[in-house]
């Protein structure tokens, strides 16, 4: 059942739930960040409107830097701006940033310890018709391996807004991964969210409280799919837990351990390569601290293709039905 303490949207499973792209939440949040802190500057590489950064550009033109299609240069400039006391927020598509400028991020931001916030949009299969070239499925891995870098994959537009505002305050650099597609706003203003904390969104009904057979750790666009699956499974008498692990790095070790101990097995769910992704970070932690069976739902060492978001999620076994099926198979084992 839904965890009432988390204060999720009461209309969470309604047909009429509002659907907004997390990019819109980020764009709004960036303007608020700019109003709250004059050190905030924004840089973009020729995808300003797509990233919703035009809202910031229009409000603070003197604090916006258009670099053109030059993602490597954009990182270096961000590093120099950080050295000048600014808090740079750089945006592009995840395939290009951190895809094309990773070494610059490593050297001039992480090793150099200059703080910047990276926003990689169009991450995951949900990018849809543009096809594999534009569907970033490797960016969590690329950013997760870097010291001094936090990684976030917001689950809805409100969370994306909270993510950018938290990132401004955070001690280190932050990578925020955004999908292209609209998604239901299932959280509310009151839902607490912070870097380094995951949330128990769906918990087993009271009689099963002490033991949840399966716990799903999900991030990003797929968190809502996991909730839909959990609801339908409950109707079939299967009680699971869904953890929103959108704050991927640093990992909320306490919460991860808590639910590992209550579970027979774990499923990790992400729109990313299984290698090096969010699920890997859970596995790295649990294999040392509380080993148990883990099923990784993600992309299995291949590229995407063109299609509608929902068609692609079905094709790559990441939709609601695939989640339900996986839970049932895990219970059987």
């Amino acid at each position: 059942m839904l965890n009432s303490n988390i204060k999720l949207n009461p209309k969470i499973f309604s047909e009429t739930i509002k659907r907004i792209s997390p990019r819109d939440g980020f764009g709004e949040g960036l303007v608020i960040a700019g109003e709250m802190d004059e050190r905030v500057v924004a840089l973009c590489a020729d995808v300003t409107e797509s990233l919703r950064m035009h809202l910031f550009r229009n409000r603070f033109p003197e604090r916006f830097v258009e670099v053109g299609i030059a993602e490597q240069n954009m990182v270096g400039i961000a590093s120099g701006l950080a050295a000048s006391g600014k808090i740079p927020v750089i945006g592009s598509y995840a395939v290009f940033s951190p895809g094309r400028n990773w070494e610059q991020i490593r050297t001039t931001i992480c090793y150099n310890q200059q703080k910047a916030i990276f926003v990689g949009s169009h991450a995951g299969l949900n990018v849809g018709p543009d096809g594999a070239s534009h569907q970033a499925l490797e960016d969590i891995a690329l950013m997760r391996v870097l010291p001094n870098m936090a990684v976030i994959s917001p689950a809805d537009a409100l969370e994306a807004r909270k993510a950018i505002l938290s990132a401004i305050e955070y001690k280190n650099s932050v990578y925020i991964r955004l999908p292209r597609e609209k998604s239901p706003i299932f959280t509310t203003e009151e839902t607490l969210w912070e870097i380094g904390k995951s949330q128990e969104l769906w918990i087993p009904k009271s009689k099963n409280e002490q033991f949840s057979s399966i716990t799903i750790f999900a991030c990003g666009y797929l968190v809502y799919k996991a909730l839909e699956a959990a609801k339908e499974l409950e109707q079939e008498g299967i009680f699971i837990t869904v953890i929103n692990n959108s704050a991927i790095k640093p990992l909320d070790e306490e919460m991860t351990l808590k639910w590992a101990k209550k579970s027979k097995a774990i499923i990790t769910l992400e729109e990313h390569q299984i290698a090096g992704g969010m699920g890997s970070s859970i596995a790295e932690f649990l294999s040392e601290n509380y080993p148990l069976p883990i099923k990784f739902m993600g992309i299995k060492d291949k590229f995407g293709q063109s299609g509608q978001s929902e068609e692609l999620l079905e094709k790559y076994n990441l939709n609601k039905e695939a989640i339900k099926q996986t839970v049932k198979e895990m219970i059987k084992d």
Binding site: M74, G76, I77, G80, A83, S84, T107, T108
Partner: protein, 283 residues
């Protein structure tokens, strides 16, 4: 720090020897580039051009020096030690475990280092960020970017060159050590850079070309660069790689290797007796 011309000339001789001694002790590192760029560093740090305060390395109004070619570490370190950022004694620790003198400079370990560097081709972008930041902050300071010529191969460099032209960053002076060598050979064989002057000009820069071993010419030109408005300035400083050691000069093979102890002895012998040679060229 401001030294007389005579003292700057003497310092170039001392620094060349120290570079060789450091490399001999470290047993790895880069020879040719650092030896060839000594006059550039001495002119910048000891003629009074540069605003800096070793006692207050993070002084807000300091000029910024972004070193894009971090493999010049031995030259960078000797220069900063003589400028007063840390003791000359520390130079012996180059490349050793636990040393502040990493193989390539790390900002967090040494005062006077603006950026951690090593991978070439990204310093100019950082310098642009600092120049833009200074303009946003309404600070009147000059940003210097010291680059090699090999890194003119990098796409990142040209992204930055285009950007500096677009933003008319007249608080930015880039200095290219045009020594014509890189790891795999002579620059014009590896990847032709010429006409380098015309390339920069076509990207909206003011280009000045100098003899990179002539201290007075370096000082005059860097000062002139500060009075150019609306355009960033690049100074192409023609230098001799390995300058001062006859078997290293113009030899690209010395880009990234260190001499054997016998070769180093010979190099040091030559560097100690270099005085007359350098002076005559400075006249």
């Amino acid at each position: 720090m401001k030294l007389t011309s005579k003292k700057m000339e003497d310092l170039t001789i001392t620094i060349r020897q120290e570079i060789m001694e450091m490399l001999l002790e470290a047993k790895s590192g880069h020879c040719a580039g650092p030896l060839g760029a000594v006059e550039l560093y001495v002119a910048l740090y000891f003629s009074g051009i540069l605003n800096y305060d070793p006692k207050n390395p993070n002084w807000e109004k300091r000029d910024r020096v972004v070193i894009s070619n971090g493999h010049y570490a031995p030259l960078i370190y000797t220069t900063l030690a003589h400028a007063g950022y840390f003791s000359l004694e520390e130079l012996k620790t180059l490349r050793k475990l636990g040393s502040n003198l990493q193989g390539h400079p790390h900002r967090l370990l040494l005062p006077g280092i603006e950026t951690s560097s090593g991978p070439v081709g990204e310093g100019l972008s950082q310098a642009i960020g600092m120049a833009l930041g200074a303009k946003m902050n309404k600070e009147k300071l000059q940003v210097y970017c010291l680059m090699g010529d090999g890194e003119q191969d990098c796409g990142n460099t040209w992204e930055a060159v285009m950007m500096a032209g677009k933003n008319q960053l007249d608080n930015l002076t880039a200095i290219i050590d045009r020594n014509n060598i890189q790891i795999d050979g002579f620059t014009e064989n590896v990847m032709p850079l010429e006409p380098l002057k015309e390339k920069y000009e076509s990207f909206g820069w003011k280009v000045l070309e100098i003899d990179g071993h002539n201290i007075s010419e370096i000082i005059k030109t860097v000062n002139a660069s500060k009075s150019v408005f609306v355009k960033p300035v690049v100074i192409i400083a023609h230098t001799i790689p390995g300058k001062g050691v006859d078997f290293m000069q113009w030899e690209y093979q010395w880009h990234g290797k260190v001499p054997s102890s016998k070769q180093a002895e010979e190099a040091l012998r030559q560097l100690r007796s270099i005085k007359g040679q350098i002076e005559s060229e400075l006249d």
